[in-house]
Amino acid sequence: MPLTTDDGDRLMARLIETWDGLPPEEGEAFLARLVLLLANEVGDLGGLLAAVTAASPPRP
């Protein structure tokens, strides 16, 4: 189920707030844990791999 615009706005705010509250060296570890937790919620490997591709920078 896609996020509603309203929920999406709330999530964005929370992500930014959390990230900005972290010491710089903890940002990556936080994101890695977040990705794993979300991946477990999604469960579908095909969808997850497509998301990894979509999030990757385009190859030069």
Binding site: E28, A29, A32, R33, V35, L36, L37, N40
Partner: protein, 567 residues
């Protein structure tokens, strides 16, 4: 290396016919195996049981690596099934320890305690731990019973010459050199294969930045020590350690060492220091054997060069996580044994040996993928490996899914061979069951009034399994296809079903019909290595014969001409 506390049996040199009676003579043999380790002995036992005469040459005087080191520990269910066929599983199981629990620690904090639920239907436990030299000794005792097998200890192969239609081997012995000729040579000569060197073959080889020391330690803890795995140990500068119970009251400890001074790391004093720490201060133990190893990945492709076939560590080496080296050596041997038997008997051509090379290369690559993924978790090198591993370790404290992502070695499971000459893709509708290419599933049966397991009925041949409650085929079962024996077994849920001339196995627990997806009836054909060749819904010997006929015809198409491959 440093100390040997095991009492290994010594095998004496016996004068071979080549050196008997004055002048040195040369004989020609059908098959010579170089190396009497796990691969060589398992292959010799299998070939011998199939009636093939074989000479095995080993430079050592004991079972075990050069007589000093304790090496492999863990054997997986599939390998034990093969040992069963070779007549050594009972001995191995009686001596070995079994386990089904493990604990994983981050430093000293317990992250995961898992219990692997045993499949009660199986004849053998999922894992057995036993020092490798015991397994080798039992295999050797087995081949000693077989007239077909001639094992020559203390004999070193020092040269090899591949000719048009034979291979010549030069051997050095305590009583002088001799040479022998062979139709086929199987290189089971381990990690530093001399045979590969004689043929100037260059495997693809990567040494990993991962070094381990290990020790066999005799200590009485009052109970069996089930698998423990520590990550991030401060006394090892963040390295890992493993403990595992073996036979003879011994525990294997492995711990990661810095490569700066590996010799210092295996000095006895240092080893005692490590072991005492891992045993939480206890000192009432005896160190029986010490070794060290560097993890590497080696694949020699293809496994077949003219008339020389590579098996086991001679063909592939992997990081040890998941206990794949010895297990895959035995599984290689079983894949090869029936094919080589057929080629030697003139019932099949080179194409069948190509399927050995292809199927077992695929297995090696799959094992390599698994082992390297564990390696990446245990010994993270890149930024990404460390980032995601640490994320998993942090989450594992609260999250069950993250505990499952802790990869300290996934248990070795048998490969499912891909569709190929010897594996027929389904044409009929099977949405469940044991897929073609997979190893056969075993479960209890009663047959001729006695309790057994299904695979006890297997005699080393192609075997058709008919899942049915009735039996009235229009034609009597054929027992030979293209020179290969075909056996027939009826699997039924009807204890009253009585058939003359075909063995009947009653699926007393229903597990076989269930696992083979056979409620609507099915015919499965097992290859002589107990992997599924193909399956159809129709229950008839004609269908089974058609499967065997078709795969053998496909395997007859050699990829390359035999002449091209010899030189």
């Amino acid at each position: 290396m440093t100390e040997v506390g095991y009492d290994l049996r010594e095998y004496s040199f016996k004068t071979p016919p080549e050196l008997s009676g004055g002048a040195t003579r040369t004989f020609r043999y059908r098959c010579v195996i170089v190396g009497a380790g796990l691969a060589g002995l398992a292959l010799a036992a299998d070939l011998g049981q199939r009636g093939v005469e074989v000479v095995v040459i080993d430079r050592d005087a004991t079972s075990g690596a050069e007589g000093v080191l304790s090496r492999g520990v863990g054997y997986a269910a599939r390998t034990i099934e093969i040992f069963d066929r070779l007549g050594v599983a009972d001995k191995i199981a009686a001596k070995a320890v079994t386990w089904n629990e493990g604990r994983i620690f981050d430093d000293r904090e317990l992250l995961n305690h898992y219990v692997i639920q045993p499949d009660q239907k199986q004849k053998w436990p999922a894992f057995l731990n036993l020092q490798q030299f015991h397994v080798e000794q039992y295999l050797y005792e087995r081949v000693e019973e077989l007239d077909q097998v001639d094992v020559r200890w203390q004999s070193t192969v020092v040269g090899l010459d591949q000719r048009e239609d034979s291979v010549e081997l030069s051997v050095e012995t305590p009583e002088g050199p001799y040479s022998l000729e062979a139709d086929w040579v199987v290189a089971c000569d381990g990690a530093h294969s001399s045979v590969a060197k004689f043929l100037a073959l260059e495997p693809s080889l990567t040494y990993l930045n991962d070094y381990w020391a290990y020790a066999d330690v005799r200590v009485d803890l009052g109970e069996l020590l089930q698998r423990r795995f520590w990550l991030n140990l401060p006394e090892l500068n963040g390295g890992a350690a493993i403990a595992h119970q073996m036979a003879d009251g011994c525990i294997r400890y492995d711990w990661q060492i810095a490569h700066v001074d590996p010799d210092e790391e295996i000095a006895e004093e240092r080893v005692r220091e490590r072991v005492t720490t891992l045993l939480e201060g206890r000192t009432d133990y005896e160190i029986v054997s010490i070794g060290r190893v560097r993890m590497k990945r080696k694949v020699l492709s293809p496994f077949l060069h003219g008339r020389v076939i590579f098996v086991g560590d001679a063909a592939h080496e992997l990081p040890a996580f998941g206990a794949r080296g010895g297990n895959s050596a035995v599984q290689d041997a079983e894949n090869l044994a029936w094919k080589l038997t057929a080629v030697l008997a003139g019932d099949a051509g080179y194409g069948l040996l190509d399927t050995y090379a292809d199927e077992r290369l695929a297995a090696a690559l799959e094992n390599s993928r698994c082992a390297l993924q564990s390696e990446s978790f245990i010994n993270p090198q890149s930024k990404g490996e460390r980032l995601f591993r640490d994320a998993v370790l942090r989450l594992a404290r609260e999250q069950e899914f993250a505990r499952r992502l802790i990869n300290t070695g996934r248990p070795s499971v048998p490969i499912v061979y891909a569709d190929g000459p010897l594996v027929l893709a389904d044409r009929d509708d099977f949405d469940a069951g044991v897929q073609p290419g997979a190893a056969a599933y075993n479960a209890p049966v009663t047959t001729a009034g006695r309790d057994a397991h299904l695979l006890d009925l297997w005699k080393g041949n192609f075997t058709a399994l008919y899942f049915t409650e009735t039996w009235d085929p229009s034609d009597p079962p054929t027992d030979e296809v293209r020179g290969f024996d075909l056996d027939h077994v009826i699997v039924t849920r009807d204890p009253q079903l009585s058939v003359t001339g075909v063995e009947v196995a009653v699926d007393t627990t229903g597990a076989l019909f269930d696992r083979y997806g056979a409620d609507a009836g099915a015919c499965y054909v097992l290859r002589p290595d107990m992997h599924i060749a193909g399956r159809v819904r129709e229950v008839s010997p004609v269908g089974a014969v058609a499967i065997v006929d078709q795969i053998l015809a496909r395997a007859e198409q050699p990829k390359k001409k035999e002449e091209e491959l010899c030189r």
